[in-house]
């Protein structure tokens, strides 16, 4: 950030944040295996699970596999929490932005426990999820995730998880 009062050009800010988000997500094989994508608006992330036949659990209904839903929620929680940590670091300049390249990998939180509620059948179509970090301390964090398909207000699953914060070195 320059010493003058002029704000940074918008493309500089966007490029920096997108690069940081990409570093957080791209290195994790399981996220690509499921095909999960992230849409960023400022610091708000929406996870997208584009429909694939391989995500089906019950071919008769058909319905998404509970394991695919649980995986989607856990990925959203970890990335959401990891992103909130990283956001602080990039916006305050604690992380050297020149470091963030293809080989740079942020440390990820570790799941301690996760409780998933299955509220409705997961339909064979795209699903969306958002994580809310309810508490983030030095060691532990508590994260809530909501997932929906057609209507934002009609959740098909939700989860709460506790996570071990990544150690800084």
């Amino acid at each position: 950030m320059s010493g003058a009062n002029r704000p940074e050009p918008v493309q500089v800010v966007k490029e920096r944040r997108d690069r940081a988000l990409h570093a957080l997500v791209a290195g994790v094989p399981y996220i690509s295996f499921l095909g999960i994508e992230f849409d960023r608006k400022g610091d708000e992330l929406t996870a997208i699970l584009p429909y694939r036949d391989a995500h089906i659990g019950n071919p008769v209904l058909p319905a998404l596999h509970g394991g695919a839903t649980a995986s989607f929620l856990e990925v959203t929680a970890i990335v959401g929490l990891g992103w909130s940590i990283l956001w602080e670091e990039i916006e305050t300049g604690a992380v050297d932005l020149a470091e963030i390249g293809p080989d740079w990998m942020p440390r990820l939180p570790k799941t301690i426990d996760m409780t998933v509620d299955y509220l409705r059948t997961g339909l064979p179509r795209d699903a969306y999820a958002r994580a809310r970090v309810n508490r983030s301390g030095r060691r532990y964090a508590s994260v809530h995730v909501e997932a929906w398909q057609d209507n934002r207000a009609r959740l098909f699953a939700q989860a709460t998880g506790h996570f071990l914060m990544p150690t800084r070195d």
């Binding site: 994790v28 094989p29 295996f33 499921l34 391989a54 089906i56 509970g66 695919a68 856990e74």
Partner: protein, 147 residues
């Protein structure tokens, strides 16, 4: 996991291993019967959650525990073989060892007319040390309730 009743012509083995998502994760049914099920999942680099350590993502372990728990409900005495997960809580005790197959064993320890309760544990291949444990509630239908 959501599943339909097992047709008498389809064995439970074929049915569970044929669920597209379970198949994508390479799950193998080791044992099933009387409210008990064992399913294993091979180590696969595509399932890695932490690239620094090569440890499998918790979500893949959740999928294994959900499938095994659901299978135990499908085989529970007096049940119709239809079930869906209501909720599942998983505790991760320690990271699964990279390179090793994970085996999950589930017990459907109680059923009411409408609900089945399940406990499951997931273990490493080598020394059988516990990686994760879970408790869950599943929908349950008695056989006679279906005409």
């Amino acid at each position: 996991m959501r599943s339909e009743p097992m047709d008498s012509t389809i064995s439970s083995r074929t049915f569970i291993e044929a669920l597209p998502f379970s198949k994508a994760l390479g799950m193998k049914l080791e044992a099933i019967g009387e409210g008990h099920a064992i399913i294993s999942m091979p180590y696969d680099e595509r399932l890695i959650g932490d690239p620094r350590t090569g440890v499998i993502h918790g979500g893949a372990v959740s999928a294994l525990m959900d499938t095994t728990s659901g299978a135990s409900v499908m085989s529970a005495k007096g049940g119709s073989g239809v079930t869906a997960t209501l909720d599942l809580r998983i505790d991760y005790m320690r990271p699964a060892r990279p390179g090793q197959r994970i085996t999950c064993e589930a017990f459907c320890y109680h059923t009411t007319r409408t609900v089945a309760f399940v406990r499951a544990t997931a273990m490493d291949e080598e020394d059988g040390s516990q990686v994760a444990s879970s408790v869950g509630a599943f929908t349950f239908q008695r056989k006679e309730a279906r005409s």
